[in-house]
Amino acid sequence: MRIGYYPGCSLQSSAREYDLAARLVARHLGVQLVDIPDWNCCGASAAHSTDPFLAVALPARNLVLASEMGLDITVPCAACYHRLRMAQRELAHDRDLGRKVAEVLGRPYRGTVRIYSLLETITGIGLEQLAAQIVRPLKGLRVACYYGCLLVRPPGIGCDDPENPESMDRLIETTKAETVSWGYKNECCGGALVFGAREAAFRLARDILRNATGAGAHAIVCACPLCQSNLDLRQGQVNKMFGTNFAVPIFYFPQLLGLAMGLNPRDLGLTTHFVDPQRALKVVGG
């Protein structure tokens, strides 16, 4: 399978391991990720809080590039996925806007590109096919699958049920790891507020960490660089702010999948986490 790949800005720096793991796992599963040449930032929350035109125009350029490639696209970052899908919906509702964007870019906007989240693309391979690739079962590892907001909301845009998403759980269960049932799988991590309202953001992160560990999880699995960085990179700051002592590793889902497929932990970026996953992985002989 060949599919266009939109990594997004975070995956080039703070979420480098997500990019590494995504590319590596995809290759091993026979999915050829073709980078959208010359892609640009989707604008994230900054654009839609500032200017409605930019909020659509920035993602639209990427959709134009993708349609020129003639490929559908897959998007690892939940926020980018959300923005691209929202822009596409907006453009479908407002033809005029599409014309304006095309006019400024000097390229036609067609709106035919289908946008998938990486989670959808990987689960779309088929759970049985995936299970067949598992050579190093993660038996004994208990994880909380965390979907956050933008992967599943709003309805019609998100790629799974907004209230009880389960696709990641089913995917992770193919590795023989155990998934816990918990109440915060679709709560907001507050990542968008780290710079604007830091305390609020950390409080949300704390609640998620507390609920996951309360449910017996050794680790959290996610599909969003913002969530990962707010929960992992900021975990120390969260502990400091609230006097807690969480040490919960936060994985990207392809990292765990890759590990179970027998891929090299270093190649999957498992050495660059703030909270070292080694201890959690010890239960599976990691």
Binding site: D161, P162, E163, N164, G183, Y184, N211, G214
Partner: protein, 661 residues
Amino acid sequence: MPRIGVFVCWCGSNIGGVLDCPELARVAGSFPGVVFSTDYKYVCSDPGQNLIVESIRKHGLDRVVVASCSPRLHEETFRQALRRAGLNPYFLEMANLREHCSWVHPDAQEAAQRKAIDLVRRAVAKAALLEPLSPGRIPVIKRCLVIGGGIAGIQAALDVADAGLEVLLVEREPTIGGNMVKLDKTFPTLDCSACISTPKMVAVAQHPGIKLYTYAEVEEVSGYIGNFKVRIRQKARYVDHSKCTGCGTCWTKCPTSVPDEFNMGLGERAAIYIPFPQAVPNKPVIDAAHCRQLIKGKCGICAKHCPAEAIDYKQRDEVFEVEVGAIVVATGFGLFQWEKVYGEYGYGRYPDVITGLAFERLVNAAGPTGGKIQRPSDGKEPKTVVFIQCVGSRDEAKGKEYCSRVCCMYTAKHAHQVLEKIPGAQVYVFYIDVRTFGKGYEEFYRRVQDEGAVYIRGRVSKVYQDGTKLIVRGADTLLGEPVEIAADMVVLATGVVPSAGAQDVARMIGVSVDKDGFFQEAHPKLRPVETHTGGIFLAGACQGPKDIPDTVSQASGAGGKVCALLLKDELETSPMVARVNEALCTGCLACREVCPYRAIQAVTITERLPGQPPRERVVARVTEGLCQGCGSCTVACRAGAVDLKGFTNEQLLAEVDALCL
């Protein structure tokens, strides 16, 4: 040539103040066919009517035009006058000079006068073409079908039967009683629901005028008011009720157990069962989907133990037809399927999040817990109970915009029951508005607050399981604060929807439903128990969410309507119905497609043309008992074979011509 008389009414100054009535009468006298014309102060008064009667006699009039007010007001009055004069009452035509002319054009007298002349000319032109009409008479079958054996159907059946009429009551479940008999207590009086409904169930079974068919369904309805044909399917019970004594040996011996519908799945029953101990009839049926003998052909335990040898695994469904004169639809309600759409409350994954109706069974002494309020998950007594109102009501996003009416009150009742049965219990009720619309309801709500129920104004956004607790995340909008409660049990006030299969019943009997699937009444204020189809009446929650008093009132209303209909020997039907000229009809049946009343049927006639062998062909025929006279068919007919009596093509064209002169 007809002899037309024209009577121009002044209506005091209402018409006479704007129009020159004597002049109008004079002009009318010159219209073709008019042999007499006059004006009079008040034609509708007794002397005015007498003037008409006398003029008919004196001048040999055979058509009458009254130029006065709206025919919607006095058409019937003047028809009676014609009848008194020995004339066919349908030889009357009116010109509406008051509502459509003098009252709306008081400042344009000239134009009004010209218009009035046109209006009278139109009426005269139509009058010249009027035909004698007489209402049809149809016999009435003095038997009533009631569909649904809940409290509405029971009440309607009893009322009709008490009037000496025969009633067939058809219920699809193995027992009558419906939803009401599942309830523990009834608000606001807290009397025991079973205690007040089971005597009525028994009364139905014992009434000599009522034939009860349980475990049966109506399959087809045809015919029309006074003369319906109904096909009923008696589902196989696999138990011969003429032999069965209801001793109960079979269900104690049956090795199969399945979730018990009557207890909302909270308990279990055998494959051969009665739904509950006071069921009527008090004899079991075999649930074919779960019986080992019927599925695998191996078991036969109930047959072996039955002392009456009543078990008959070879029993088949029976289908039979009956004729009835009236039908009462009382198919009741079902619960909104919250598990399908309320993901934020867990999609039904958490065992301790239950519906109000399940709570009724939990708290009922005859229920699965013997009346102890226990958590379905671990059987423990909940200390903190949260009630969430408007689940599937007033929720446009979940497809239900309407208020279900009963939830506020039953939730208040549940809150009371928790506080009464569990010492030290904490009860929280999340609400949006508390609607206590009935007698004694507001007082009951206040009593429950006095007892300690905490009402929080706000909708719950999320419920999730955290260990053994359910975390309920809501808001107190009066304080403007979010609220979180760790609850042991959550009871959802699930909304009321039409019962499953109501749509099929509606289609079968040709009655429309509203956008939410409830049966559509003929008029929301003034004809709340009738439907647009003559002879079919509505009772209870099938027409819209209702509490028990309203349901019973409406059922008695429907019963009264049925009696008024069936106590007549014959029905008079409006003569203004469609007719088919079979000689012109090509049998395309385009007319049948547009008829809202299924009043047009295809019949085969044998045509004998001179010099040709007889030939069979299909033509359309109007069933006058069903036709309501809209005339849609007349336009659909490409051959011009269908016409509407009282509004014929010829008459309408003559009216148009007269107006455009």
